[in-house]
């Protein structure tokens, strides 16, 4: 059975009006996106800004409502459900955001940040769970009493991941989780994500602008441009023999060290 089924998803925004007489311009952030995610899939979404990938994440996490189309989660249509009927989704699907600073409340201690989903969902032993989570993401126990700004970028992303794992979700959505990180930290966080996905049998949705990162992490890839999926298929295949010209452009634009070094060969 598929965990997530997305059918013909559209989302239209209206820009705020800049004049009294002219309404704001229409922006079609998503234009008919469809895909299926089988259990434990590792699904990559690749695109640049304006591709609609951020909108897609917000819709998957039911943080926004689609203009038309449906998303079903574990066989249940979640589009248009009121917040009180989304409790299961708030437990089953969690998001790791891009900016490891912006996604952590600067005024909260790490303990309260990680326990937030537990408190929201009435967990019986948040303190015990906190210990497990800090262990799972490789942070020392005494981190719990500190504030986000006292950590490096990589450690902050670990905090963010711990928070996402807190309610024991089955689906993890990661929005550019490594693009704000240094090279050596990036490798550590990618390894951590891979470990956790395996250990907790997670279904992973991984969003990035970098196809080489997505190829390393995911088995299936969707390439998005201007609100549409232009190419979708096995990660290896798309990377090795891209069919769409935009996919080829993306691959050429983000050289790996190996391809960049070819000019010295």
């Amino acid at each position: 059975m598929n965990v997530i089924e997305v059918r013909d998803l559209h989302r239209v925004y209206r820009r705020p009006r800049t004049s009294l007489t002219v309404p704001g311009t229409r922006v079609e952030a998503l234009r008919g996106v469809s895909f299926d995610l089988p259990r434990q899939a590792r699904f990559g979404v690749v695109g640049e800004s304006g591709s609609g990938k951020s909108t897609l994440i917000r819709l998957l996490a039911a943080l926004d409502k689609p203009t038309s189309g449906t998303i079903s989660f574990q066989g249940k249509d979640i589009t248009g459900l009121p917040e009180r009927r989304l409790k299961f989704l708030r437990r089953e699907l969690q998001v790791v955001f891009q900016d490891p600073m912006g996604s952590l409340d600067p005024r909260m201690r790490v303990r309260d940040i990680i326990c937030e989903p537990l408190v929201a969902q009435g967990h019986s032993d948040p303190a015990g769970r906190l210990k497990e989570l800090l262990d799972a993401v490789g942070l020392p126990q005494q981190s719990a009493d500190r504030f986000p700004h006292q950590f490096s970028g990589g450690q902050r992303q670990r905090i963010s991941i711990a928070r996402a794992l807190a309610p024991n979700p089955s689906v993890l959505v990661a929005d550019e989780p490594v693009s704000a990180l240094d090279v050596s930290v990036r490798a550590q966080i990618l390894n951590l994500l891979a470990d956790l996905v395996e250990r907790f049998s997670l279904t992973l949705v991984f969003v990035s602008h970098d196809l080489s990162v997505v190829r390393h992490v995911c088995d299936t890839v969707a390439v998005m441009r201007s609100g549409e999926i232009v190419e979708m298929g096995a990660a290896e295949e798309i990377y090795e023999s891209p069919q769409h010209s935009y996919t080829r452009e993306l691959i050429a634009a983000v050289p790996t060290l190996r391809t960049a070094m070819r000019r010295f060969a």
């Binding site: 490096s152 240094d182 990036r186 080489s212 390393h216 452009e249 060290l257 960049a260």
Partner: protein, 320 residues
């Protein structure tokens, strides 16, 4: 003759050393990459070269430009103002905050020429500005010159920044992560532009980034920085194919997403970059280095032969 010569640069805040004994040169028309992660001191080094250090940073050592007769370290603000934007220019990471939002971009390009008197009057400067906007390959330069920054895309704004930087034909161009905030396809075109623009003008380029692939694409020579020190220098080809310092080796391994260990995991550098002032004495990398020995308690000196150098007692592949 080098366009830029940095000698024994030392930077510290409240007694905490942030950059220690950094020396390097950039020749005229040469493109040099300065690589490092957060906390390596690479951006601070660039800031020091531009003479833009915050008040709380203490600087020692020397920064000299080929056609300026005084040292930039310890120079007065007045002296620096004559150099910045004229002999040496910088492109920053954030193209939005670096432009004045209430001024047409053409005027901003013209302004830098008028400030330094490289064009006799407004009309000439404006004409030159339009020409420059064309040279950084902005479409319809005359139209674009009349636009305000918010009417341009991120990539276009960064091109305007480059036009401003190149306006007075500086001897040295410093780019600090100029493409990090841009979309990937835009980034690729911007890098190409920086490369050709400096090549055509014979401008020395100091390119600061954390991205090894970008350096491999753009530069000829590379300086690797860690813990406020240069740990390895040399041609991009040599450093990236036969690194001597274990840190460089680790960075290269960690960037290679195609090479994984038996568990399918990427190779990493153990631990994390220490905070400012928390690096170990001796070799700054020794607490994370798998090859560290007792020798490493003493700081290795970067000794360069023909621009190739490394600061390590136990270099990768044995002493060369």
């Amino acid at each position: 003759m080098s366009a830029l010569t940095v000698d024994s640069l030392e930077l510290s805040v409240a007694g905490i050393p942030l950059v220690t004994g950094v020396s390097f040169t950039v020749g005229a028309g040469e493109r040099v990459g300065l690589i490092g992660e957060s906390g390596s001191g690479k951006s601070l080094t660039a800031t020091a070269v531009m003479g833009l250090l915050p008040d709380e940073v203490d600087a020692a050592g020397s920064v000299r430009l080929s056609d300026v007769d005084h040292d930039l370290v310890g120079a007065t603000e007045k002296q620096l103002a004559r150099v910045r934007g004229r002999r040496m220019a910088m492109v920053f990471q954030e193209p939005m905050s670096a432009l004045n939002p209430s001024m047409r971009v053409g005027d901003q390009v013209a302004e830098i020429m008028l400030i330094h008197g490289t064009r006799p009057d407004k009309a000439t400067a404006r004409a030159a500005a339009v020409e420059l906007l064309g040279q950084v390959r902005l479409p319809e330069p005359a139209e674009t010159a009349r636009a305000y920054p918010h009417q341009l895309s991120g990539g276009q704004r960064q091109r305007v920044m480059l036009a401003i930087a190149l306006a007075n034909d500086p001897a040295v161009l410093i780019c600090d992560e100029p493409t990090t905030a841009l979309d990937v396809t835009v980034q690729a075109r911007m890098l190409e532009l920086i490369r050709t623009a400096t090549e055509e003008r014979g401008t020395a380029l100091l390119f600061i980034t954390h991205d090894l692939a970008v350096v491999a694409q753009t530069c000829e020579r590379v300086l690797v920085m860690y813990g406020g020190r240069l740990v390895e220098t040399g041609s991009v080809k040599e450093v990236f194919t036969a690194p001597k310092h274990p840190y460089t080796r680790g960075l290269l391994d960690a960037s290679d997403l195609e090479a994984v260990d038996e568990h399918g995991r990427l190779r990493t550098i153990p631990g994390a970059v220490p905070g400012a002032g928390e690096f170990p004495g001796g070799c700054v990398f020794r607490n994370r280095c798998t090859d560290a020995t007792g020798d490493c308690a003493e700081a290795p000196v970067l000794s360069e032969v023909d621009d190739r150098g490394f600061a390590c007692w136990n270099p990768v592949g044995g002493p060369a």
